[in-house]
Symmetry: C2
Subunit: 353 residues, 2 copies
Amino acid sequence: MTASIPNHPPEPASERRRPTIHDVARDAGVSKTSVSRYYGRERDLLSDTMIERIEAAIERLGFAPDRIASSLRGRRTGLIGVVVADMRNPYTVDMLHGAEQACRKHGYSLLVCNTGNDDQLERQHLEILHGYSVEGLLINTRGRNAATLAARQDNGLPMVLVDRHIDGLACDMVGLDNDQAVGLSVSHLVDQGYQRLLMITEPVAGISSREARIQAFQHQAQAAGVLAEVHEGLEETLDAAWLAATLEQWLKTSEAPGAIVCANGVITLAVCHALFALLKSPFDQVGLLGIDELAWCALVGPGITTVAQPVGDIGYSAIEALVHRISHTASEPQSLLFPAHLTPRGSTTLNMT
Amino acid sequence: MTASIPNHPPEPASERRRPTIHDVARDAGVSKTSVSRYYGRERDLLSDTMIERIEAAIERLGFAPDRIASSLRGRRTGLIGVVVADMRNPYTVDMLHGAEQACRKHGYSLLVCNTGNDDQLERQHLEILHGYSVEGLLINTRGRNAATLAARQDNGLPMVLVDRHIDGLACDMVGLDNDQAVGLSVSHLVDQGYQRLLMITEPVAGISSREARIQAFQHQAQAAGVLAEVHEGLEETLDAAWLAATLEQWLKTSEAPGAIVCANGVITLAVCHALFALLKSPFDQVGLLGIDELAWCALVGPGITTVAQPVGDIGYSAIEALVHRISHTASEPQSLLFPAHLTPRGSTTLNMT
DNA sequence: ATTGATATTGGGACCGTTCCCAAACAGTAT
DNA sequence: ATACTGTTTGGGAACGGTCCCAATATCAAT
C-alpha cells in the first residue's frame, strides 16, 4: 500500500486547483509562515536547510505565489495605472514603451487605460484603477478631472504627470523643455532665412505643453524679428478643410519666404497631408518643421526637419519618479524637463530662386 | 456630548483608511452581505428600502469596492493579460487600441507586457500574469514558449492568439486572411504590368503569418506567370546594409519592370529608407506595395500602395473571442480571419517610358 | 546546570470581499 | 393558531497570503 494509488481520482487538468503556500508548507514539512518568508524580504531569516526544503517543494508542486492574495494583507499590489488621452498617438506609444521598461526594472506591472480624450471615460478609468488599488498613477490626459485626481492624491496615491501640468494639481511632472525645443526650431528657421512663421496646434484647451510652445514661439519669433502667427485647430482632431483653408490663407498673405512649425507629431502628419493636397511640390514654396520625430519624416519630400523629444526617456523617468514617490515620503513636487534635439532636413532648406 | 466631537484625532488625509463594505454596512445599518449583494448579481434580492439605504451610505462614505479583495474569494479578477512582441510596432498599437475598447465594453482591464522579442522575458511576463490570476491571455509573440502556454491552457486559462498561430498550441486565433491579402497585392501588381516581384520579410522563424504570406506570394506569382523572389532578413530588425545590398542586387538583375512587396508595415518603412538611400527617385524605377496601411503612406513619393488589415477590428475581435471563452465552456479552437483592403497609389503605377 | 542572548520557526489573527446556509419575516392556506 | 410556502436578510467561514508575537533551539558565558 503506497501513496501511488490515490483514492480520489485526479481532477481534470483544466480544473486542477492551483497549489497554495499551504500545500508547499505541508509538502516541505514546514510552516506556511516560512514559505511566505521565502518570498518576502524576511528571507534571510531562513536557514539553509529550510530554503532547500522549501525550494524542493515549490519545484515539486509547481507553486507560484498569488499576487492578488498577497496584496490583500500585504498592501502592495505591484500595479501602476496609466491613463493616456490617446494610445495611438506616436508620442504616447514611445512614452509607454519607456514606462514599461522602467516598470519591469522595478517589478511593477502596467494597467493601461485609454480615455480617447473623453473626460467622463477618464473618470471611469480612474475609478477602476482605484478599485485595483494601483500603487501609483501615470497621467497624460486633458486634465479636466483635476478634482478627482486631487482627491486621490490627498488619499495618499502617488502620481506623476507626463508632458503636461494640470491646473490645481501639485504633482510631479516629466516632459519636454518647451522653451528650448521651440528655441531650436525658431533659430534654425531664422538662420535658414525664413521671414515669417506659422505655428499650427491643436486646441490649447488649457493643456500646458501646448500653451508653453505657443508662448515660446511668439516670444522667440518676436525676439528674432520675424513675423509669427499661431493657428489653433477647432477640434482635437484637426479638421482637414479647416487646415487647408488656414494654410492656403496664410500662404497667399505674403511673398516673403515662410515656414510652418507643427506643434507636435500628429499635427505634422495632418499638415503634410494638407500641403500635398494644396500644392504640387509644397516644400519648394514653404518650409516645414515638426516638433516630434517620426519614423517617416526623412522620407517625405526632401525630408522633414524635426525637433525630437526623448520620448522613451520621458516615460522611463516618469516611472522612476513615480516609484520614488511610492517608496519615499512626500516631498515638494518637481518637474523634470528634457531637452530636444534638432535634425535638419530638406524641408527647411530655403530655395533662393 | 454628540458624535461631532471624535475622541481620536482625524488621521491626516494622506493616510485615511479607505472605507470598506463593513463601514458601509454599519453606516447603513444593514449587514455586509447585503452591501456585497448590492454590487453582485444577487442585487435583485434586495428590497427597495435596502437599496436606498445602502446607496445613501455609499455616497456618504465615498465607498468603492476593493477589486483585489473581491477577486480573492470571488475568483474573478477582471484582468486580461496581453503579451506582445513589440509594443511600438504600428500593428501592435492599433491592435491594442481595438482590444482596449473591447475590454472596456466587457468590464475587463488590460495588463500589458512587452517582450521585445525576448523569449525569456516572455516567460517571465507569463509568470507575472499568472501571479495576477488574469482571466485570459491575448498573445502576439514569436511563439517560442509553446510549452509554457500549453501548460497554462491545460490549467484552464483561456487564451487567444493574434496574427499568428503557435505550433503545438491548439488555440483560437484572430488575424488576417493572408491568402486574400497577398492575392490582392499580386494581382494588382500584375495588372499594373510588373513582370517580376520581390518580397521582403523579416526572418520567418516559424511565425505562421510570415510563412503564409510567403507561401501565398510564391504560389500566386507563379500562377500569374511572373517571377517572384523572397528575401528574408537575418535579424528581427532588418539590417540596413543587408537590405541595401539585397535591393541593389535585385534591381540590377534584370531590366524587366519589377515591384517590391513589403510583408508588413515595419518592412515598408525599412525598404523606403533603403530605396531612398539607393536611388534618387526610386519609384520611377521600381514599384512598391506594402502590406499594412500606415499613416504616412500617402505622403511618400507618389504615395505608396498598401494593403490594409483591419487591425483595430482584429484586436477587438480577439478580446471578444477571449471573453467568450472565459464565460463559455471549452469548444474547438477557431480561427477568425479578416480580409484586407487595397489602396492603390502612385508607387505601383508603372511608368511606360 | 543555569542563564541570557541570539537565531530560527510556528501559530493565528487579519486583509476586504464572496458565498453558503440558516434565520427572520412575510403571506396564504388549513 | 398552525403549517407551509416564498422572499429577504444576516452570520460566519472561506479565499491565499502577510505580519505580529510568542515559542523553541542554539550556544557561549557564568
